[in-house]
């Protein structure tokens, strides 16, 4: 349907925009910035903070520009006297219910309210401080997320994030008036409700009301402790986003600089989660083929299809709460982070002659659910907690700043060996569809002896930012031992964001879907949009990060997991074979149903 053009004037400047455009977006087209707080490009319009109010000629009320569509002949003023007074009042009022102890706030320097207060030079407060003392008691129950109600400005971005993007309502609005707050079911601690720990709420909180449970100090202590051997691993999606917190623009690849910075921070070894991403493909790919064989050849109906990926700990916790009857469909593979931890404190510790109890494994992750994951009781197969501390991409940037490292001029370095070698297949784990693509590159070749039939190995149908993607690949001319797969259409599906995961799960549950393999990433866009990534986030920013990930892949000398020489070596020297005895002990896990309340 063709949209009509609407003519209006903003600050006396004429503009024509499509019917339905908001005043806010029309103003942006004129390069006029109207401040916002409750508005977010990923979320529905709320129009509740009222910071974006503008004057419309002839109207009795100011209009919330984020929520008001343009109309023909409209005359808008974004900075009239009325607007300025109201807007300043609104910022002042927000500050009276906000614990504005900025210097002690984790978000200081990246806070939209702070920016606005600075912009409007809100000096001594005219109005009374109405922060409730009890609101200053933080909820630190979750290993991933810290909730501080005294910093909350009730913009409800977190509530909309949890509901609209993640299909959960772990956070919701409760009470009204002066008692209105963002809370959980029965006001329980965050750790006791259906929170997936994905941290998407953190990424969209304009203030410091929701932040990660930081582990920076513990990690510094480990680095400085001479009796400890500090090993660090870096997840695929960190290398294409870290720069954003250090003055670079979204989409810049900083792999070599990140490695170099980590070495300068004092880690004894800088290794790569990408290595265990490749290992995951070996285990998970074999698991898929084994499940197919058991079902198609042995007619073993105890084996469940579709098999679902298990790399994303937010997704796993979601599934444990919401679809406990589908837990057997989850791959038993641990996530790459946890495979790394288990191997580091066994195979690797032995190789470099360090006692496991003296080793501290730190992860740099785009994720806050990883903080929860590393504390799971299942994740102690080395005999110790396999991964000791998880830092978000944001926390790493803070440490780099604290250490006085000039990130932009630092020389690039390589990961240490072993557990530092990886392939293009591993780095694309950071984007939605990446695990699927990596698995297909390997599984197809195992079964047919040929590379996947896509130009430059780029399996385009599974790429892109759509919430749910489906693809089907015909398997032909297989090797004799895989004859049962001859002519089979391998049906796959991919979802990113838990609201999309829920849609897929409903299809699986109803029997409507006939997938063999499903990749789910808990966060929008996959790990590149993870809850531990630099703030802000938007579809635009995530698109740039994805482009960076795929160009990282394209530039790797090896692009298939099974060709990673260190992976080949670990099987030869230590693990034996995929799904073998040792793999089973160290690289696989199990899941548990969790209650909804």
């Amino acid at each position: 349907m063709n949209k009509y053009l609407v003519n209006l004037k903003i600050n006396n400047m004429p503009i024509s925009v499509e019917e339905g455009t908001t005043i806010l977006d029309a103003a942006r087209q004129l390069n006029l910035r109207i401040p916002t707080l409750c508005h977010h490009p990923d979320l529905s319009v709320a129009g509740n903070c009222r910071v974006c109010v503008v004057e419309v000629k002839g109207a009795r009320l100011l209009a919330a520009s984020c929520a008001t569509p343009v109309s023909e002949g409209m005359e808008v003023f974004t900075n009239s006297e009325k607007v300025r007074i109201a807007r300043k009042h609104i910022v002042e009022l927000l500050l009276t219910e906000h614990n504005a102890d900025c210097t002690k706030c984790f978000k200081s320097g990246n806070c939209e309210l702070q920016d606005l207060a600075t912009e409007y030079r809100i000096g001594d407060h005219v109005f009374l401080d109405i922060v409730k003392p009890q609101s200053k008691i933080q909820d630190i129950s979750s290993p991933s997320i810290v909730k501080d109600d005294s910093k909350c400005i009730r913009c409800q971005r977190c509530v909309r994030t949890c509901d609209e993007l993640q299909g959960l309502t772990a956070l919701a609005v409760t009470n009204k008036g002066d008692h209105q707050k963002i809370s959980t079911f029965l006001n329980k601690p965050l750790n006791d409700v259906v929170c997936s720990t994905c941290g998407q709420c953190i990424n969209r909180c304009p203030t410091g009301a929701l932040t990660e449970h930081t582990n920076i100090e513990e990690v510094w202590n480990a680095i400085y402790d001479p009796s400890k051997f500090a090993v660090v691993q870096t997840a695929p999606a960190t290398r294409i986003a870290l720069g954003e917190d250090l003055g670079l623009t979204p989409g810049e690849r900083v792999t070599g600089k990140m490695v170099s910075a980590l070495k300068r921070l004092g880690f004894n070894k800088v290794l790569d989660t990408d290595f265990t991403a490749d290992l995951t493909i070996m285990e998970e790919g074999t698991e898929l083929l084994t499940r197919l064989k058991k079902i198609l050849v042995e007619k073993d109906d105890s084996v469940k299809l579709p098999m679902m990926t298990s790399c994303s700990p937010g997704w796993i916790k979601f599934q444990e709460h919401m679809y406990p009857d589908l837990l057997e469909n989850l791959s038993t593979c641990k996530s790459p982070q946890q495979m790394f931890g288990a191997l580091a404190k066994t195979y690797y510790a032995e190789k470099i002659n360090i006692k496991a109890q003296d080793m501290i494994v730190v992860s740099i992750m785009p994720c806050v659910a990883k903080k929860f994951e590393c504390e799971r009781s299942e994740m102690r197969d080395s005999g110790y907690q396999d991964v000791d501390f998880v830092l978000t991409t944001r926390e790493l940037a803070m440490m780099i700043k604290q250490a006085g490292i000039d990130f932009n001029h630092i020389e690039e370095e390589h990961y240490d060996s072993i557990l530092g070698e990886s392939t293009g297949a591993a780095v694309i784990f950071g984007a939605t569809g990446g695990v699927m693509e990596a698995a297909l590159r390997t599984a197809y070749e195992i079964v047919t002896g040929r590379e996947v039939p896509f130009t430059n190995l780029n399996i385009q149908p599974v790429r892109g930012m759509d919430g749910i993607k489906e693809a089907s690949i015909k398997i032909k001319n297989v090797k004799p031992e895989w004859s049962f797969l001859e002519g089979v259409d391998l049906n796959v599906a991919i979802a990113n964001g838990l609201a999309n995961a829920r849609k897929l799960m409903e299809k699986v549950k109803s029997g409507e879907a006939n997938y063999h393999f499903i990749e789910i990433m808990g966060c929008p866009g996959g790990c590149l949009g993870g809850g531990g990534q630099p703030i802000p986030t938007s579809p635009e920013i995530r698109k740039k990060r994805a482009e960076a990930i795929y160009s990282e892949d394209a530039n790797m000398p090896i692009r298939k997991s099974h060709e990673n020489p260190e992976v080949v070596e670990v099987y030869e020297q230590f693990l034996g074979e995929p799904l073998g005895h040792k793999s089973h002990d160290l690289l696989h896990t199990h899941y548990r149903p969790r209650k909804r309340y």
Partner: protein, 388 residues
């Protein structure tokens, strides 16, 4: 021409003598456009307080192209000091049902809802019985319309029409952004007419007696009569139907106790009129409009306490979503307390008045927008009572 207080009997006119069925049958023989013209001609404006012309509201909704439309009777009578809808619901519910059915016919709706205030649950059973009878009658007469009852849960803000829709849809009762207006997207995002209880009764009565007779009452800007809830320092508290456009001094003469100091017109969210302004104040859309509440205060009352009570009420009943209302109400309440205690200078009241202006133009809904009415009118007229 100055009006004199005149008692009227339209709303509660004996229903035995008046057959709603006859009114309905007679009206449904006319074309919807004729009915709309009559309503516009009558000058009837919404009796909930906001005063939107009823005929136009029906016309806009009729003009919307949609298979599904709704008629909603707003019976969430929550304004402090207002209790006239309760009486109407109790005494003449058939007139409400009839107005809703006529509206359904005019706009093309097949379903109507009465959203009854949570605290009026004691009316629910009786109302349901009468409603069942009415619905049966509609069925027998092959009139394709049915009315349902929904009970609110006690939030004041749910009387705001878009919050009411949210509540009816099972969501948290919070006002929506406007536009879209209910005539375009109301309940279930379908075109909806939402009228106050009393407004719907007047539509029935205008269809019965014709616009001319209705127009004989009231003034150019405020046609007809209105039901008032009279309370406070009066020997004859109760519900009265009076002609619109009367001067407040006549009202006080009739209802006051001889020592009236102020009248709060329009409930907590309305305006406080001091004695010295009684003579110049007209009750109507050209003067001070009201949803019906008239609270009379005599000289024994502390206007600080009155304002404090109102502000406590708004602080608690704000839905809390928008900044000007949520925080503004708290600042006003704590602000007058601070002035009273001497912790803030009297001039701080002027800072607070500026806040009410921001609330008036920047709050999301009528609740926050109107808190300045009582605040400014009490602070301006009784400043010394607030300070000392």
């Amino acid at each position: 021409m100055e009006k004199y207080l005149k008692k009227v009997d339209i709303i509660f006119e004996d229903t035995k003598a008046l057959s709603c069925v006859n009114v309905l049958e007679k009206t449904l023989k006319r074309s919807p456009d004729e009915i709309i013209l009559d309503l516009i001609d009558s000058g009837l404006k919404g009796r909930g307080g906001a005063g939107f012309p009823t005929g136009l509201k029906w016309k806009f909704t009729r003009n919307e192209d949609s298979d599904v439309k709704y008629v909603i009777c707003n019976a969430d009578e929550g304004e402090p000091g207002t209790f006239k809808d309760r009486e109407i619901i109790d005494k003449v519910p058939e007139k409400i049902f009839t107005g809703m059915t006529i509206c359904g016919y005019v706009i093309g709706a097949k379903e109507g809802y009465i959203y009854l205030r949570g605290e009026y649950n004691f009316l629910l059973k009786g109302l349901q019985t009468k409603l069942d009878k009415f619905n049966d009658m509609l069925k027998q007469k092959h009139i394709d319309f049915i009315i349902h009852l929904k009970s609110g849960s006690g939030a004041y803000v749910c009387g705001e029409e878009s919050a009411l829709f949210e509540s009816m849809e099972g969501k948290r009762g919070e006002p929506r952004n406007k536009p879209p207006y209910p005539t375009v997207a109301g309940y279930n995002s379908k075109p909806t007419v939402i009228n106050n209880v009393e407004t719907l009764v007047y539509t029935t009565m205008i269809c019965h007696m014709g616009p001319e007779k209705f127009k004989e009452l009231g003034t150019k800007d405020s046609r007809g009569s209105k039901v008032f809830s009279v309370s406070g320092d009066t020997p004859i508290a109760g519900i009265y139907e009076l002609e619109l456009g009367m001067p407040l001094n006549q009202f006080v003469e009739e209802f006051g106790d001889g020592d009236t100091k102020a009248v709060q017109v329009g409930g907590a969210s309305g305006h406080c009129v001091p004695r010295k302004k009684f003579n110049d104040t007209i009750i109507g859309f050209e003067g001070i409009p009201t949803g019906g509440s008239m609270m009379i205060f005599n000289s024994s009352r502390s206007m600080y306490n009155v304002l404090h009570d109102y502000l406590e009420f708004f602080t608690e009943e704000s839905c809390g979503q928008c900044t000007p209302c949520r925080v503004g109400c708290q600042q006003l309440l704590k602000g007058i307390e601070a002035v009273k205690r001497g912790e803030k200078a009297p001039a701080y009241l002027d800072d607070l008045k500026k806040v009410t202006n921001t609330m008036k133009i920047a709050a999301k809904c009528g609740l926050g927008q109107s808190v300045g009415n009582p605040f400014n009118s009490i602070v301006d007229n009784f400043r010394e009572e607030i300070i000392y």
